[in-house]
Every structure is written in structure tokens, then in C-alpha cells.
């Protein structure tokens, strides 16, 4: 994939990281962050999306939002692959604290310990949070 960017992408490819720490629906941050991720992908940047703390709940399966009159945006996570956004990471400690496993999530993710996440974050050039 990195080779593909070298051939067709823009001159500059930066490592972008999106850190999702907020639960869905209680605030809009999760939804509008997802819109940012999709745009970054269109710019063919090296996109990394991290879910930690309550952000892991964004990926929870079986969201049914009709009763609160809001749009269920969790299916969009499944569409990310089509935009070449494939680097999705979930912090192990956040998942465990909530009694969740990867089977509870709508998309396949890489589970990282805080230790491994540290190293990955430190390499990023642009980090967007909300």
C-alpha cells in the first residue's frame, strides 16, 4: 500500500492519527471525527485511527438509534476499508476495562497494549483529537 502512495499519491504523505476517546451519541465528536477520517483518506495520507477510553464504544455492534431519533453512523466504520483506511487500532486496556472483546466490535481492528500504542503515537506527524 505504501508503494501505491509513492506512485500515485500527492508529493507529501504524512502520518495522520485520529484519536477517538468519546462515546457515540452523547456528543457529536465521534460522528464528525469520522467525517474527518474519510476526507483525510481522500487526500491519500497515511491514516491511523485509534479508539481508546470510551471511544471503543463507537465500534460496539448492534447500535439501534431509532429511539433517540439520531442517525446510526456505526455502519460507516465498515465502509472505511473501501477508502483504504485499514489501520484501525483499539487499546487493549480500554477494551478490558469495559468487559468487551473484539467480537463485540463492528469492524476488525488491531488490539494494541498501551505500551505499543505509545510507540505508534510517537511516530505520528499530525494528531487530531476530539
Amino acid at each position: 500500500m505504501e508503494e501505491e502512495w509513492d506512485e500515485d499519491g500527492p508529493e507529501v504523505v504524512k502520518r495522520f492519527m485520529y484519536v477517538n476517546r468519546k462515546a457515540p451519541y452523547g456528543t457529536v465528536y465521534a460522528l464528525e471525527m469520522l467525517e474527518k477520517v474519510l476526507i483525510a483518506a481522500a487526500f491519500e495520507q497515511d491514516v491511523h485511527v485509534v479508539f481508546m477510553d470510551d471511544g471503543v464504544y463507537q465500534l460496539k455492534k448492534e447500535q439501534e438509534t431509532k429511539g433517540i431519533n439520531m442517525k446510526n453512523f456505526s455502519p460507516t466504520f465498515r465502509a472505511l476499508e473501501g477508502y483504504d483506511v485499514e489501520k484501525l487500532y483499539v487499546e487493549k486496556e480500554s477494551l478490558e476495562a469495559r468487559g468487551l472483546t473484539v467480537d463485540d466490535l463492528v469492524v476488525p481492528v488491531e488490539v494494541l497494549s498501551s505500551q505499543d500504542l505509545k510507540a505508534l503515537m510517537d511516530k505520528q506527524e499530525v494528531i487530531l483529537t476530539a
Binding site: Y25, G26, T27, V28, I68, N69, M70, K71
Partner: protein, 119 residues
């Protein structure tokens, strides 16, 4: 029973206005009276008629306006909070009126129950 409602946040950023709307609707359906819905802090942004959500998203400004029209619910926007945030008569959605903070206190005095939705 008479309910008074306070909304502290605008649409979108927090769920407060959604919850307040659904609570208000449920109370009306149960035959209760809504004495007043008071919009304070960023809650005044619920009255911005220029708001234009995506077609498949809920439109809180319109939903509140419709509630005012159908059930004669009194929607009051705090004048001081609104001035700061640029919510003025030019862009005020139908069914809302701008008035003083005293309207909130009066709501607390007159209503049997006063409840806050915020962040």
C-alpha cells in the same frame, strides 16, 4: 402536572437538546402541560433558523418549532445568553421568543417540576 424544561446546550454538539425534546414530547403525550422550555447557555443555538442538517438527520430547530405550533409550547431564549452568541430576531426560528432570565425562575416557581438537560 406542569413541567418546566431547561436546555443548556445547542443542537449537535451534545445530546441535551435531543433528550429534552423527546422528554417534552413524551410528557405532552401523557397529557401533561409544558409550562415553558427555556434555552440558556449554548442552548440558545437551538433557535437558529439558518440551521440546515443533512437530509437524513433530525432537524432539532424545526422539531422544536413544530412542537410550539402544535401544542402551544412556550419556547423562550435567554436574551443575555443569546446576545453573546449572536442569536437575534433576524435569525430566530418560528415559535421561539427572546426574553429575560426571569422567565426561567418564573418557570421554576409556577411549574410542578423543573428539569435540566445539559452537558
Amino acid at each position: 402536572m406542569k413541567f418546566g424544561i431547561l436546555v443548556n446546550e445547542g443542537p449537535f454538539q451534545h445530546q441535551a437538546s435531543d433528550s429534552a425534546y423527546l422528554f417534552t414530547k413524551a410528557a405532552l403525550e401523557k397529557g401533561h402541560e409544558i409550562y415553558r422550555v427555556f434555552f440558556y447557555y449554548d442552548g440558545v443555538n437551538n433557535a437558529n433558523k439558518l440551521s440546515e442538517p443533512q437530509a437524513d438527520d433530525r432537524d432539532l430547530v424545526k422539531l422544536w418549532s413544530a412542537l410550539a405550533e402544535e401544542h402551544k409550547v412556550d419556547l423562550v431564549v435567554c436574551v443575555a445568553a443569546a446576545l453573546r452568541r449572536g442569536i437575534k430576531d433576524d435569525i430566530l426560528a418560528p415559535g421561539f421568543r427572546i426574553s429575560g432570565l426571569g422567565q426561567l425562575i418564573e418557570s421554576g416557581i409556577v411549574a410542578d417540576r423543573q428539569i435540566t438537560f445539559g452537558d
